[in-house]
Amino acid sequence: MKYSYYPGCAQHGTAIDQRISVEAVFKRLGIELEEIKNWNCCGALHVDDRTTRIALSARTLAGAKGLDIATPCNLCYSNLMRANTALEESALKTMINGALTNKYEGNTKPKHLLEVVVNDFGLGKLAEQIKKPLKIKAVPYYGCLLTRPENKFDSPENPKSLDNLIAALGADPVKYYYKTKCCGGPILLTNEDLALQLAKDLLVMAKETGADCMVVTCPMCHLQLDAKQKAVEAKFNMKIEMPIIYFTQLIGLSMGIPPKELGLDKHLVSTDKFIAKVGR
């Protein structure tokens, strides 16, 4: 299995832990991720001009050279998906191709790494790789942009792919009504009060389920729920101490990969107790 790989900017910064775990896990699964040479930012939600943002993703899509393009980030994924749909309009495609060296023909399929694991690789095959079933309870948290506004693999209202993955790893995916509610990440810098309020709602609800960790699929969600968790605790005068685990890290733990090789020592919320419970 081989994919063209678009890491996105966060993998070179705040999501270094996710990057380490992706490298460790995908290598062992035998899924080849070939990084696009000289890739550019997708524009996230902050390059306001729509055409420019589509063009940034068009350049990435063209760089995939016909392979399916995999990405670990919900924002990158949604931008690639939205651009792909917008580029079905031939006038727009012609105009944008005019600005690109490698023209985009419209033949690249964007896939989030979760989709790659759950659908392409398959949970049955993944189960064969499990050395240590995880006897824990985990909150499946999808975030917004994995399933909205468009995706081809899961429901925007009640997605199940991450639930199924957690169950396949031997863990118990708890019922969590906020699984696709916004974490507030995009407004963290410009409207922190509101961003922390949104994060608090998610964390409190997660805590109430009695879960051992919350599983995320996106670097922005991780930043918001892990790195900013202390700020939430301080602002609302409460103790949460909820480990926020990337789904790739969870897979890695079940495969018996040492926590350090999964970047679990790089979280701001301690993962020690969680790792002890998993049992390594």
Binding site: G13, T14, W39, A44, A99, C144, E157, C182, G184
Partner: protein, 210 residues
């Protein structure tokens, strides 16, 4: 809040038509004000106008009120409203359409400032170095100094590299970023040349309003 009568002079139909022609606005005139957008929005309690009200205001061509609304900037782009709208309107897309228009009209706030810094960093480096973004934004937002301990914590975990992440070759970026000038002017001429026809489906909604 005191209610004012909307007089025809305060309505800007060209503005309304511009939004209708943009992505996500195609079905705007069919809105039946059900409010599922406002009910689905995780942040509507902070907005001065809910997404539902914004759609109505755009229909009425209330350009000034729409562009001055904090709703555009409070929106977290989560798309909850958009996947639920029974009429196929994408309020999230509308907010994205309104952002550059508001900036062009001279609206200034922290979000516009941050977006401007973000676009600038990407245009120069091709990648969004978080360190560069935070430091540039902090220079113009003195309150950000309170975030310094947080920044140091990220640095200590190796999560905020001080070296600037950059593409090897940034030559294509200039032509990509100059696309915005092209599209901006195209939209304007389109509207001047051809007044938009009223779509079939909006006759229903206008009837319903009566």
């Amino acid at each position: 809040m005191q209610k004012e009568t909307i007089i025809p002079e305060s309505r800007d139909n060209a503005f309304r038509d511009l939004i209708i022609k943009s992505p996500g606005g195609e079905n705007l005139l069919t809105c039946m004000q059900c409010g599922i957008c406002a009910g689905s929005c995780p942040v509507s309690h902070e907005m001065d106008h809910t997404p539902r009200q914004m759609v109505r205001m755009i229909q009425l061509g209330l350009k000034k009120e729409v562009l001055n609304s904090n709703t555009i900037w409070i929106c977290t782009t989560c798309f909850s409203c958009s996947v639920r709208c029974p009429r196929g309107i994408y309020p999230t897309e509308l907010m994205e359409t309104l952002k550059p228009i508001a900036i062009k009209e001279g609206i200034k706030n922290r979000n516009a400032k941050f977006d401007n810094i973000f676009a600038d960093v990407v245009k120069k480096n091709g990648r969004a170095s978080e360190f560069l973004l935070i430091s540039k934004y902090s220079i113009s937002e003195p309150g950000m100094i309170a975030q310094a301990p947080f920044g140091l914590e990220l640095i200590s975990k190796g999560k905020l590299p001080l070296s600037i992440d950059k593409m090897d070759d940034t030559r294509e970026l200039d032509s990509i970023f100059s696309l915005s000038e092209k599209t901006g002017s195209e939209e304007k001429t389109k509207i001047k040349e051809k007044p938009p026809e009223i779509k079939e489906n909006n006759s229903d909604s206008q009837e319903a309003e009566k």
